[in-house]
């Protein structure tokens, strides 16, 4: 009796696997639909490389910088592992945003997938939180000053700014407790919530099926007829297993790209953090540039807009998009206002970046 048959006899695993791998997916599901699995793969790379980095990294102000130096310069493959973690982090941000843009322009956030969208936007928030907490850990100049600036921006939150900034830092200034907090957030708290929400996100995708492209009879939302139309679309489509080969090819390509970036450019490590510098010019990681640069756009007393209202209201609007945009048309060409607004925001963010 084979192991597969043994398990199947007890757990019914074969029908489970068949239902997963051989389920039919709607026609015209293609390369754009690999962006989600690409993000998932990169998150796996981050988790694995992160776990291995934790074998050598020491989260204390006395030893953090030295341990990162040790990883980079002495540990075999250390520069590669750290470089991979760093570059794959940037790719996660890129692919999560591309995935979101794809879902937006294909109208896939509309009925019945509003909940997948909400969880997806929460995941994007978690990814940015990973970025913000992650680059403090090497405790170099960039780490220290980006965190001074980042937590100082939190002070602009009306009413609760001082308390919020102190809770983030663990005290009045960036210091020993900030590092401990950010470490705990980055390697314990955030991964727990990330994988919990990824599981929920995937459960919903599998339960509801991959969203069909907004063409033909599925271009307009019609809750009464949705299920029959979706079944029709699936009858013409391929099996998931065939699509999975595309996902795998993208994953391999991404690993090769990230590896090349890691070997070619590595991960930078500036001078050790120095609170007494008079010459250092803080710059955040590239995916926070647009917010940092937005500070130029709104000077003086208006700083509260880019420091608080624009990120907070922007995130809320993104989170609640399926409930704000309730139009039945899924194709972007049929809902030009939302599409134009979204395009303008995208161009603006790219320009500031």
């Amino acid at each position: 009796m084979s192991l597969g048959a043994w398990l199947d006899d007890r757990l019914g695993t074969r029908s489970l696997a068949a239902g997963f791998f051989y389920r039919r997916i709607p026609r015209a599901v293609g390369w754009p639909h690999t962006l989600g699995s690409a993000t998932l793969f990169l998150l796996l790379v981050q988790t694995v490389t992160g776990i291995f980095l934790a074998f050598y990294y020491v989260p204390s102000v006395e030893h953090a910088y030295g341990s990162v130096q040790y990883i980079t310069e002495q540990v075999p493959f250390g520069a590669y592992v750290r470089g991979l973690h760093r570059w794959s982090a940037s790719l996660v941000v890129i692919f999560a945003v591309l995935h979101l843009v794809r879902v937006f322009f294909m109208g896939a956030y509309k009925y019945p997938r509003e909940t997948s969208w909400v969880v997806g936007v929460l995941l994007l928030g978690i990814i940015f939180a990973f970025g913000f907490t992650g680059y403090l850990l090497p405790w170099d100049q960039k780490a220290y000053w980006a965190t001074v600036v980042g937590t100082h921006i939190a002070e602009w939150a009306p009413g609760v700014g001082d308390v919020a900034a102190r809770l983030l830092r663990g005290g009045p200034e960036v210091g020993i407790r900030t590092l401990g907090r950010f470490f705990a957030f980055h390697v314990l708290f955030l991964p727990t919530f990330l994988w919990l929400l990824v599981a929920v996100h995937l459960f919903m995708v599998i339960r509801q099926g991959i969203a069909p492209p907004p063409v033909g009879r599925l271009a307009v939302i019609c809750p009464e007829e949705y299920r029959t139309r979706y079944e029709e679309s699936k009858a013409e489509g391929a099996s998931f297993l065939e699509h999975l080969t595309r996902d795998a090819e993208v994953a391999l390509a991404l690993l090769l790209i990230a590896s090349w970036l890691a070997l070619r450019y590595g991960a930078p490590l500036e001078e050790i953090a120095d609170a007494t510098t008079t010459t250092y010019v803080p710059r955040p990681e590239w995916y926070f540039y647009f917010l940092f640069e937005l500070l130029w756009v709104f000077p003086g007393r208006w700083t509260v807009l880019p420091a608080f209202w624009i990120p907070v209201l922007g995130f809320l609007a993104l989170l609640l998009l399926p409930f704000l945009d309730r139009g039945p048309a899924r194709s972007p060409l049929r809902g030009p206002v939302a599409s134009l607004a979204a395009t303008a925001v995208l161009v603006g963010v790219l320009f500031l970046t």
Binding site: H152, I153, D162, L167, P172, R177, T278
Partner: protein, 179 residues
């Protein structure tokens, strides 16, 4: 409801309600017993005030009248974890009348490290164009309040810097941050 599933209907409504209330109460108790101490554990050390230890800025005679000089503040007592007093940067200004002002080196806009330019007699922030005069008042750029200051004292000819506080445009003390 007529569409009530069988397994739900098999439990009488009153029993179901009682069970839900009981489960809710137990969950609330578990959440409270764990949540309140953990919340305090996470938040309270961060919110504690007055934990900046006095730090030595240097001998009084080392500061020339009319000069503004950068100093690295060295905490007086050895940092006792976790009441650590970080090493910080500050600008000591000795005014014409011989008295002192000690400025925190973070710009009041978003916290970039400011520098004193003696030729221009200005503090400049490297990030978004904040400019301050020798009393820390805002001259240009986005900052909304003067540079933060350290409490200070002189003992046996040595200048010490203490807790950081904010001032309003009339240079009156208003608390740790803008109020």
């Amino acid at each position: 409801m007529s569409s009530e599933p069988h397994h739900q209907a098999s439990l009488p409504r009153s029993r179901r309600r009682f069970t839900m209330v009981l489960l809710g109460a137990i969950s609330g108790a578990i959440g409270g017993i764990l949540g309140i101490p953990l919340g305090g554990f996470f938040g309270l050390p961060a919110l504690r005030s007055r934990e900046f230890a006095w730090a030595e800025a240097g001998p009084v005679d080392g500061f020339k009248v009319g000069e503004i000089r950068f100093v690295a503040l060295m905490p007086l007592r050895r940092p006792v974890w976790p009441e650590e007093a970080p090493r910080m940067g500050a600008f000591v200004s000795r005014k014409a009348d011989g008295t002192f002002e000690v400025f925190h080196n973070h710009c009041t806009h978003v916290g970039c490290p400011v520098n004193w330019n003696p030729a221009a007699q200005r503090f400049f922030s490297p990030c978004h164009g904040g400019v301050f005069d020798r009393s820390g008042r805002v001259l240009a750029g986005p900052p909304q309040r003067p540079l933060d200051r350290h409490e200070m004292k002189v003992e046996k000819g040595v200048l010490y810097a203490g807790e950081i506080y904010s001032v309003n445009e009339r240079l009156e003390r208003v608390g740790r941050y803008h109020s």
